[in-house]
């Protein structure tokens, strides 16, 4: 061990050998250059102490931790941070975390949705066991009176809930700018802000993506939900050229608390999450080409028109640990099956008929394509009719032409089971459809 090492060990109280201590002290007494080494280390130790005393955790970060704990554990006091806009937001965020760590539950939820769809369908059909007997008669189907009643959708507890930590300034500016945009839009006679016109930057560090409705009023309370205040965030308003350009096609205005860094790099467009209606209700009608051809309708045809009321909940990628956006939904509608029922295990007997069903269904639809105006989704669903359960599998494209209007194009397949005269009967149906839907957010309807 050289003298320098001995000095450092000595100052650290780690020089235990008495002989070494004596030798060191002797060297220091007779060698001025060695004393300099000692004095340098003593000065440095003083500097360490000063630095250590000055470094205290920032209050804002401490508060963010306590707020984060409040989000994890709703029972944890939210420190001095104002409570979120809705008391349910914490619970929902907690549920999101729960699902993230229990991905298998997603499957259970999806299954539950299907069951709910089936029950709704059964209820809407009034539990009429005789419906099928009526429908099985070959010949013109007797249309059933469609009920216009729609079951109440679950309330929207999370869509606009926030939480905000450290982003209030940005939000104030966002609201200010957004309000100005709305005003400009109104005075200029331009259409309302496109639903994708407002985007919010989120980061991987945020537990819940920012959510905001495009039709939000400027004076509304807006809350964001980052996990911590230390996350530098940017909130941006963006024009949408396809919309005619609210800002005349100019460059996107950015409202930012610069510099925003994400994982050590500047934020780019791919970090921006499209802000969308989270809960929405749609009225959808499809013109359908059905195979096989529908018999019993005069003239015999395979061109039909379906209609349904659908309520969906959209999840962004990252929500609940998802890797892609996803919609869960329930729907009630009316359709005419064009099919040939075959008895299971008995291929000789077929029953051609065209039952006109009211159905209820649930579905899960991961979006495989998601852009400003286009969406493509695989849809797996299931539900029930008065005569039995069915499952569906479909692939569809959606073009969001306007704020509320979307055009649909796709193919789907239905598989229906039922029983007739002690026999299990199954029927398949392949459809190509093109249609349109009109969408509303829950708030617009229920507030």
């Amino acid at each position: 061990m050289n003298i320098h090492e001995q000095i450092i060990a000595f100052l650290d109280g780690e020089l235990h050998n008495e002989t070494q201590v004596a030798e060191l002290l002797h060297v220091l007494a007779v060698a001025p250059e060695k004393r300099h080494l000692l004095l340098d280390q003593v000065k440095l130790r003083r500097s360490y102490a000063t630095l250590g005393a000055e470094l205290t955790s920032p209050v804002a970060v401490d508060m963010a931790i306590l707020q984060g704990l409040h989000t994890i554990d709703a029972g944890f006091p939210s420190a001095s941070i104002p409570p979120p806009a809705s008391p349910a937001s914490g619970q929902i965020a907690g549920a999101a975390r729960f699902f993230r760590y229990h991905p298998m539950l997603m499957g259970s939820v999806a299954s539950l949705l299907l069951v709910i769809g089936g029950v709704i369908g059964y209820l809407f059909a009034g539990g009429r066991g005789g419906a099928f007997a009526t429908a099985t008669a070959v010949g013109p189907a007797v249309p059933q009176a469609a009920s216009s009643a729609v079951s109440s959708p679950p309330s929207d507890a999370t869509a606009d809930d926030l939480v905000v930590k450290g982003l209030r300034d940005s939000l104030a500016r966002l609201q200010s700018r957004y309000g100005a945009l709305m005003a400009a839009s109104a005075s200029g006679g331009r259409p309302a802000v496109h639903r994708s016109a407002v985007r919010a930057a989120t980061s991987a560090d945020m537990e819940t993506p920012v959510r905001m409705r495009s039709d939000r009023q400027a004076a509304d309370t807006v809350v964001l939900s980052p996990r911590s205040s230390s996350v530098e965030s940017t909130i941006a308003l963006r024009s949408v050229p396809a919309d005619g350009g609210l800002l005349g096609g100019s460059a996107d205005p950015m409202l930012s608390r610069s510099p925003m860094q994400m994982e050590g790099r500047p934020v780019t467009d791919r970090d921006l999450a499209v802000v969308d209606r989270v809960w929405q209700i749609g009225l959808r009608s499809n013109f359908r080409l059905s195979f096989p051809r529908v018999y019993g309708i005069e003239p015999s045809t395979n061109a039909l028109t379906d209609r349904e009321v659908v309520a969906t909940r959209r999840f962004e990628s990252g929500d609940l640990g998802l890797r892609m956006p996803l919609r869960l939904g329930v729907a009630v509608g009316g359709t005419q099956f064009s099919e040939t029922f075959r008895a299971v295990g008995n291929t000789s007997g077929t029953i051609a008929q065209t039952p006109n069903f009211i159905y209820g269904r649930g579905f899960i639809a991961p979006e495989i394509i998601s852009s400003e105006n286009w969406g493509g989704a695989l849809e797996l669903g299931g539900g029930g009719t008065a005569v039995g359960p069915f499952v569906t599998l479909g692939l569809g494209m959606e073009y969001r032409a306007m704020d509320r209007i979307s055009m649909d194009l796709g193919v789907s397949s239905w598989l229906l089971w039922t029983r007739l005269e002690q026999q299990s009967i199954m029927s398949t149906n392949l459809n190509a459809h093109v249609g349109a839907a009109m969408w509303f957010s829950f708030d617009e309807i229920f507030q």
């Binding site: 320098h4 650290d12 280390q41 630095l51 205290t56 970060v61 554990d73 230390s230």
Partner: protein
């Protein structure tokens, strides 16, 4: 035996007391968590900041440490040494963050520190932090545990799972490097 008092004393609370508080946290006592947080937050933040060198990242790591500590308590994990747990978590996460930042310096770079002190712009704390950031993480963590957290070489060797001689060597190299980097500042004081 000669001994020199550590400049920054940290062990102001007994492990048993912390352990009891942690047990209360697991049963939902939020006040107990706040007490533990107040006790340990400054040391953990200081360690994260000096270890990582990047303030924004250090804040994130600091938060993660306490949020995960709370989760661990709430899931019933027994905390025998709260400070040790927090410091280990901070150390592990800081090293991960450093890997992400790709700011690690090779051991060979030790002899030629990249940071050069401008004595004319004297801000000792800033220079010290920059100098710390320029030395290899292995040396830096041993140095921080010794100088700022008050651990003995023996305790550090246990923490880092290396021998006492390795710890002594790392601390020596760290202090030697700091002395070399900050020499202009130190000698400037003499004038």
């Amino acid at each position: 035996m000669m001994s020199v008092e550590k400049p920054i004393a940290i062990q102001q609370h007994s492990h048993a007391e912390d352990q009891e508080l942690a047990a209360r946290v697991s049963s939902g006592d939020h006040g107990a968590f706040t007490t533990l947080f107040e006790r340990h937050k400054s040391q953990i933040y200081r360690f994260c900041l000096l270890m990582i060198g990047d303030e924004a990242v250090a804040k994130d790591v600091y938060q993660e440490v306490f949020l995960n500590f709370y989760r661990a308590c709430r899931t019933g994990q027994v905390m025998y040494n709260v400070h040790g747990y927090l410091l280990t978590a901070a150390r592990t996460r800081s090293l991960n963050a450093l890997r992400t930042l790709r700011r690690t310096v090779s051991l060979e770079g030790m002899e030629e520190p990249t940071y050069v002190v401008d004595a004319a712009a004297a801000d000792t704390n800033k220079h010290l932090r920059e100098a710390l950031a320029s030395i290899p993480p292995q040396y830096r963590e041993a140095f921080l545990l010794c100088e700022f957290e008050g651990y003995s070489y023996e305790e550090i060797s246990t923490q880092l799972n290396v021998t006492r001689d390795v710890v002594k060597n790392r601390i020596y190299r760290a202090k030697q490097a700091l002395q070399k980097i900050l020499r202009p500042l130190l000698r400037d004081d003499d004038r």
